[in-house]
């Protein structure tokens, strides 16, 4: 199992948690949505990776564009008085659950296989 992304996530979190940098509260909803979109992209990348369909260009551009688009969508929604950020939350949330379940299944299968192999060896 690959722990590198998890370690990097924690590293980035703690570095920036102790850096005195905070956005004005007006931008807080957009930032939250961008974060959610980034999380979705990371999970999607992991899923693509374990399925062997990973492309670096798709992943990186997807991360950047989805993050910006989510924030932009929320901003646009605020401007025209429609809760557009709900659309992003529903879409991203649904996809995150789907990707997480696929990742979970993959590692569970691997774990079961390795246990079987161990049992056969002994």
């Amino acid at each position: 199992m690959n722990w590198l992304p998890v370690i990097a996530l924690l590293l980035g979190f703690f570095i920036f948690y102790f850096v005195p940098l905070a956005l004005p509260s007006d931008y807080a909803p957009y930032l939250s949505l961008a974060t959610l979109s980034g999380l979705d992209s990371i999970l999607g990348g992991i899923r693509a990776g374990i399925e062997g369909k990973f492309h670096v260009d798709v992943f990186v551009s997807g991360f950047i564009f989805n993050t910006l688009l989510a924030a932009l969508l929320a901003y646009l929604g605020d401007q025209i008085g429609v809760d557009l950020f709900l659309a992003a939350v529903v879409t991203l949330g649904g996809r995150m659950f789907l990707n997480l379940s696929l990742i979970r299944r993959y590692y569970l299968t691997q774990w079961n296989l390795s246990r079987q192999r161990d049992a056969e060896r002994t």
Partner: protein
Amino acid sequence: MSLNVFLSSIRNNPWVAPVTVMALVLGALLAVSLKTQQSIRSTSLPSNRFSGLAAAYRDQQEQLKMANEEISKLRERTTQYENEMASASEKTKLLNEALQEAKFLAGLTEVEGPGVEVVLQDSKKRPPANSPIDIENYIIHDSDLQRVVNELHAAGAEAVAINGQRIIANTAIRCVGPTVQVNGIALSSPYVISAIGDPDTLVSALNLPQGVLTDIQAIDPNMVKVVKKDKIRIPAYTGSLVFRYAKPVGTTASNAGKEEEKSAR
């Protein structure tokens, strides 16, 4: 050894390196987002607490009203006890007379007599479009109330109250947001100023040319109403009366002062 595990995982899986880099970025995003939300939570009031706070505020106001009623009841009872004690001897009788006189002059007793009632209220009219007159002129301010009270005192008013709040020696009349506070109690329009004194003198003082009411009446005559009354009741002062800094000077005054403070409490 552990580094080798990481290196091999990067070599075997081409997706691990980019995902790791982006996970670092995501971690940063998460941290900033969390901090921003925390600062919002610590600086602004969550909107879901508004209704609860409003209910608590109403509750406190109700309690304050009840406490004030109790204060006036207890002060009445104190007066009764003082009067009963007065019957003990000639000395106590004289002392009590002086005490009751002082309380009456200080505004701690309900009083009754002829006088006037001045009703000041915010105008229902609005300034016409493009009018140079500010909308501020269409509402009653603390300064209007102050000037009317001042004029009434100058014309010999002996007891004055605004919406039932007795004006005493250290009463403040000041503007707090959309209300006017008198004795620390928030009042709102219409303001009823009752004053006991010679009704004719009081009314003519209020209606002096270029007097206190002239400016208000020029904006909207409906903002002011002055009524002469044969009998007005003005309630006693019910607020706090604890003097922490001022101390009476001289021995006789100090005794009288102590007595007064006790009875006030």
